[in-house]
Structure formats: C-alpha cells, structure tokens
C-alpha cells in the first residue's frame, strides 16, 4: 500500500485546528490511504496506542516534571516551591556531591558499554555473518541467552563467580598462572563500578550483536559482488563497504545504550543495594533516585525531591539524545539505502 499526502482540507471533526493555525497536524490527519478512508478510521487505529502511551508514559512523565517543583511536609501537604529542589540538588554541597558523583559514575558506566559492548557486538556479528561458519546458530543463541535472564540472576551469578570465598574466579585465574592478580573486585572502590559495567556488558552484548547481524545480512549482495569483481579483499569489503552501510544501525545502538545506561538501576541495586557501596563508588543516577524517592533504612524518602532527581535524569537523557540527533543522525541519513 502506498501513502500519499493530500493537500490540507477542512475536516468536520478537526475544523477548529485551522483556527489555531496548526497546519502540521492538519496535514498529518489528512494523510490517507489511496483507498478512500475517513479520518475517523485513522483515529480509531491510532487511539489504542495513543491512549495507552498517554496514560502510562506521557502523563506520568509530565506529572513527575510537575512534582519536582513542589515540596512535601510531614503531614502530607504539598506546596509549590519553584526551583528550590533543583537548587538544593545542584548547589547544596552534600546533595551536589552525591549528584555529580552519580552522574560521573553513570558516564563511566556508559563509556564502558561504548568501549566494550558495541565493538564486541560488532565483532561477534561480523564473525557470525561469515559464510561457512559451523554452529553459527548455536553461538548466536548462546551469546544472546544472558540478555533474556533476569538481572537479579546475572548479579547473583557474577557475585558468586567473583566471590573471593567460594567463587571459581581465583581458581580459573590460577589455571593460567594469574592467581596473584585476583582481587575482590566487587568490593574495592577502584574496581567495583568497572566490574559491574563488564557484567552488564556480558549480559547485553547480544543486543547489538543481533541488530548488527541483521544489518549485515541486509547489505545488498550485488554491491558485494561488484566489489569482489573489482578485486577487493574481504577486509577491505568489511571496512569500506559493509561498515559504512551499517553506520545507521551503530548510531541507533549507541543511542539505545545511552538511554538504557542512564535509566539503569537494577544490576547495581541487586548486587550492591541502594547505598551502592563501597563508599558510593557504584552509585548511579538510578540508585540515587531510588534513595531519594523511596528512602532507605532510616532515610525517609521524599517523592518531590525524588521527582526533581528524575527530572534531572530526564534532562540528561534529553540532552544526550538531542546532541546525537543534531550531530550524528543528520549526517548518517545520507548513507541509508
């Protein structure tokens, strides 16, 4: 079926839109299938998704943004305080120290994923797309499997493997003569965050692998054949033909990783608890938000302060995605085929 754009025309139901001058919406609504359909049909098809999305995603998000401007009192009353929650988080020495610590840790967490997860995903996908690779399907399934496991299971497994008391980590390293280099990585301030990031990379590497694999398969065979006919080596074909053609997928993966990392919480919470020790070295925005919003032990939670933290998280993600669209995505679209 082919979509055609009709010139704007007055619609019974949405005539008032013209008064507000919303020509964009007007023209959106007048997109119709070549077979004559009414606006009502379109609305009916859009409604379920729009309704669910508005109710469960857009409304809570907007209400969270609103709540950040309020402050709650012991008796449950809530009052408008303007930007004071945000100034507390960003200017109060204790609050800002823990906020920027969490932000920095989150950036490190993201950097680890960009450095390891996506290149590793690319490598695995490139290997899997090799012709004549035996057991390709088994490898694909096995590597993708951890992605399907619960994060709690992942946290528990890695805690056991790396446990200096009962774990197999030290023994395995001993087999290759590295036992002396074994450390309680999850317990040291310097290494805990990196260790958890790598556990997360291990879990999610299947995602970029699958997406890139699919993109590699979609590279048109005639282009590759032409390259081969011109005498290009396999390496050259990969670097100069296949890779540029999958840039859009790599960009997509980067931004998905960014959003997922800045919303991360579960792995840290399941391994280190909400206090994200040792000495807050694994504290990321998600755990900071949890402590602020829900409280922890004798720390009483504050929904309004938590909403302010959530708003800042949202802004950070928005800024990241915005930057990506302005600098990367616009250039990438030129390569799409």
């Amino acid at each position: 079926m082919k979509l055609v754009l009709n010139p704007p025309r007055p619609l019974g139901l949405f005539r008032w839109r013209n008064v507000t001058g919303n020509f964009f919406l007007e023209s959106m609504l007048s997109i119709s299938l070549q077979k004559k359909t009414t606006t009502a049909t379109l609305l009916i098809f859009l409604a379920p998704a729009l309704l669910v999305y508005t109710l469960l995603s857009a409304y809570p998000l907007l209400d969270t943004l609103r709540l950040g401007f309020y402050s709650s009192h012991d008796n449950g009353a809530v009052s408008f305080v303007g930007l004071s929650n945000f100034s507390t988080i960003l200017l109060d020495p204790d609050w800002s120290a823990s906020f920027w610590n969490a932000m920095l840790n989150n950036l490190k967490f993201f950097a680890m994923h960009i450095l390891f997860q996506n290149p590793l995903g690319l490598l695995l996908a490139a290997l899997l797309s090799l012709k004549n690779l035996r057991f390709a399907r088994s490898y694909r399934t096995l590597i993708f499997l951890p992605t399907l496991l619960s994060v709690v299971v992942i946290g528990f497994i890695w805690q056991l493997i790396l446990s200096p008391l009962w774990g197999v980590g030290e023994q395995l390293m001993g087999l290759v003569g590295l036992a002396d280099y074994f450390n309680p990585w999850l317990g040291q301030e310097e290494t805990a965050l990196v260790t958890l990031s790598l556990a997360s990379v291990w879990q999610f590497v299947g995602m970029p692998m699958m997406l890139i694999y699919a993109a590699l398969l979609a590279v048109p065979e005639d282009i590759l054949e032409a390259a081969r006919a011109d005498g290009a080596s396999a390496m050259r074909i990969f670097w100069e033909i296949k890779l540029p053609l999958i840039y859009p997928t790599l960009g997509l993966i980067t931004i998905l990783t960014f959003v997922a990392n800045f919303n991360a919480f579960d792995l840290i919470y399941s391994v280190k608890g909400a206090l994200a020790g040792p000495n807050y070295s694994t504290d990321i925005l998600g755990t900071l938000f949890y402590r602020t919003f829900f409280g922890y032990q004798s720390q009483i939670g504050s929904p309004t302060m938590g909403a302010a933290v959530a708003t800042l998280m949202f802004l950070a993600i928005l800024a990241g995605v915005g930057l990506y669209f302005v600098t990367v995505q616009r250039r990438l679209t030129r390569f799409t085929f």
Partner: protein, 416 residues
C-alpha cells in the same frame, strides 16, 4: 464465546478480591520476614486461643524496603491495622504525621518499664504510640571446638580479644573473624554499635552527643574506631566483597573462630547441625572497667489511625503486653528479648547467656537511633559507609570521626 466472557469476569473479580481484607481481620505490617512462620504457626494461634473472635494476618515486607513502602501504603490508605514500629525517630515521624494512634494508658502498657517505653514516646515523654515488644543484644559468638583445639578462653578485655585473634591467625587453619563489609550495615550495627559502648560509656556517651556536650571527634568515640580499625586488620583481602550471608556461612561451616553478632543470629546458627557455639560480651578496654552492652530496643507495635478495626487492634496490643506473649516471643523468636517487666525464663543456652549480661553490664541503645537520624545526611547511612571504610583500612579513625562530626554539625543545632 462464553469461556472468554467467564475469563473476563474472573479477571475483573480478582481485582475486587485483592483489596485490603475486610474488617474483622487484623493485618500486621512488619519487616520480620524471617519470623513469618513463627507468627503464623505459634503466635497467632496462641492469641486466637484466648480471643476466638479475632482473625489476624501477618504480612511482612523485606527490611530494607519496609519503611518506604509502609509510608507509601499509609499515605495511600492501604496499610494494615497493626504497624510494627521501628524505634525512635522513624516511628516518631509517623506519629507526628498522624499515622499512628495515641496509646496513652492502653491496656498492657503498664507491664513495661519506662526505659522500654521511651523508644516509642514523644521527646517530652508525654505521649506513647507503640507497645514495646523486644530488644536485640550485640556481642560476639565463638566456635567452641576451635577454642578448645587452640586452647583459648573467651576474652573479657580488649587485650585478650586481640591475643585470641592473633593465636587463631598464627595457627592458620581458621579465619579469626567472620566479617565482611559488602553489605555495609554490619559494620555499623554489629561492629561499631557492638564494641563502642564500652568506650563511650553507654548511655552517658550517647546522651552527651545528643546534648552537644560531646563530639564524634572526642577520644571516647575515636577509641571505638581505633579498635574497629584493629579488628579490620584481621579480615582477609576478601572482606570487602564478603556479604552478611558469606560471613554467616563461614561461621556456620566452622571455618571462622569468632563472629560479631546480633542476638537474632542465634536462631540461624541453632539450625546448623554440629555447630557448637557460645557467646562473649564486647570486651572492655581494661580489666575491671564497667561494661556496657548494646541492648537495642528493636521492635514495637502501634495502631494505624485509619484502621477500621481499632477495638480489636487494641485487644491484640493488650495481649502483646501480657506475660504469655513475653514468654512466647522470647523463647520462640530466639534472640529477641522481651522488654516486659514480667520475668521470662529464656531457655536457649546462648540467648540465656546474652540476656544475663543485662544484670552485670549497663544497657544502652544504638548511638544514632534517637534524634540523630532526623536530618540530612542521615547518620544511619553515614555510619554504614564510614564504618565499612574503617574496617577496610580505607579511612583512618580520626578521619572517620571528622567526617561523622561534619555531617552531624551540618543540620543538628546542639552540635553547631
């Protein structure tokens, strides 16, 4: 299709069934997930024997989530009728917010001494809002077999404790201490609160901190961190990644000689076949010093102001104040000691040993429990972090004291 329709109806109906129970059933909110069976199999049946008309349901939430989820449920109007009360500030905040019923003169309340009630009273001591239930005592557990094999005696002083630890370390077949810092809370609640009272002189030190007469940086507090740092030197390099469960397992498997403990641990180790263990009180600095123990009021129970069933709830609380409950709780929930003035005969040998310290040592509660948890940064979270760092040798005792003091002085007037 009729089956689809039936399914739809059933789905809708479950939403109605999932609503809070109908009046007539008392629902208890608690963080004691571990005691669920004891409540369901022993305590509630005992209550029903004397009060056949009242149904009671025990509905616990995991400890770290209890306070936040309870606050949310109270605000949303879905909390149970009876609320297990944390001591001091956390419950006081609930009372001030109008969530807990005033219990002045409630039946059963006069079975408790004033010292027990103070944990659930307003600062002026005029209003009471929870019925005291039990306290926990801190001390050390030791493996009797290892002590016999190495010819060791339970230590009474600091010097003796380190001698014992040295001997075990030299022997090399066992870990001297079963202790880790991965979960952080043990560092504060079962190490610092455990050994500290002997140095800051129990109640005197705690009250001086509250009144502003003493600071965390004073020698009596730094001394406690000094001992803690020395204890830390007996932990292997594994300690920073060792969880509470790891430590329990080490001691249960007979791989460690000494286990810094809360009395609630007794119940767990009693289930381990073949483990012979005894308890010794936190060692004093010098022989002959008056000893002080952390005998921390841990749990009480109050009534939700929005409960539809307050009369029954009050009957239940009155029973919680009875000698019958004091006896059941102390003997069935091993390691929790009743706060009642009714004399209770504790039967478990190790628990009996621990409760006997009350007679020879002065009792105090955890340093930060009263008043000092009210601001930001929360002293509880700060103490977890700081004590874990001291045990790992990442923060010196003097710096630990300075960090605590600056956090407290930030919001607490008497310390400014």
């Amino acid at each position: 299709m009729p089956t689809v329709r039936t399914l739809c109806h059933l789905t809708l109906l479950t939403f109605f069934c999932a609503r809070p129970a109908f009046s007539g059933t008392l629902i208890i909110e608690s963080w004691r997930v571990d005691d669920k069976t004891t409540w369901e199999k022993i305590i509630i049946p005992a209550f029903k024997k004397s009060h056949p008309g009242i149904d009671v349901k025990f509905s616990p939430t995991s400890p770290t989530e209890y306070d936040s989820s309870l606050t949310a449920r109270l605000a949303g109007g879905t909390a149970g009728d009876l609320i297990a009360c944390r001591p001091f500030d956390v419950s006081l905040a609930l009372y001030h917010a109008g969530r807990l019923e005033n219990l002045d003169g409630a039946a059963g309340m006069n079975n408790f001494p004033q010292s027990a009630k103070v944990a659930w009273q307003t600062d002026d001591g005029k209003q009471t809002y929870c019925m005291p239930i039990a306290s926990v005592i801190h001390g050390f557990l030791y493996n009797k077999k290892i002590f016999r094999q190495l010819n060791l005696q339970p230590p009474a002083t600091e010097a003796e404790l380190f001698q014992v630890l040295d001997t075990v370390r030299k022997n090399g077949s066992y870990k001297p201490l079963a202790l880790g810092t991965a979960d952080q809370w043990e560092s504060n609640q079962i190490v610092f609160s455990n050994i500290g009272p002997n140095y800051w002189h129990g109640e005197a030190g705690r009250k001086a901190l509250i009144s502003g007469k003493a600071k965390f940086t004073d020698p009596q507090f730094v001394a406690a961190w000094n001992v803690e740092a020395r204890l830390g030197s007996y932990l292997g390099k594994a300690a920073s990644a060792q969880t509470y469960a790891d430590s329990q397992n080490l001691f249960a498997l007979g791989k460690a000689a000494i286990y810094p403990a809360g009395s609630w641990d007794i119940a767990y180790f009693n289930q381990v076949p073949g483990l012979e263990f005894g308890a010794f009180a936190p060692p004093v600095a010098k022989a002959g010093d008056q000893c002080a123990i952390s005998d921390h009021m841990d749990i009480g129970m109050g009534i939700n102001t929005n409960s539809g069933n307050k009369a029954d709830a009050r009957q239940f609380l009155a029973w919680l104040g009875s000698a019958e409950f004091a006896d059941i709780y102390s003997n069935k929930v091993t390691g929790f000691f009743t706060l009642s003035s009714n004399p209770v005969d504790v039967k478990d040998p190790v628990a009996r040993q621990m409760i006997a310290w009350r007679a020879s040592c002065a009792s105090t509660i955890r340093l930060n429990a009263q008043i000092l948890n009210r601001g930001q940064p929360s002293m509880e979270n700060e103490l977890w972090n700081v004590n874990a760092l001291v045990l790992n040798g990442k923060l010196s005792p003097a710096n630990a004291a300075a960090k605590m003091q600056s956090g407290l002085a930030k919001w607490y007037k008497p310390q400014q």
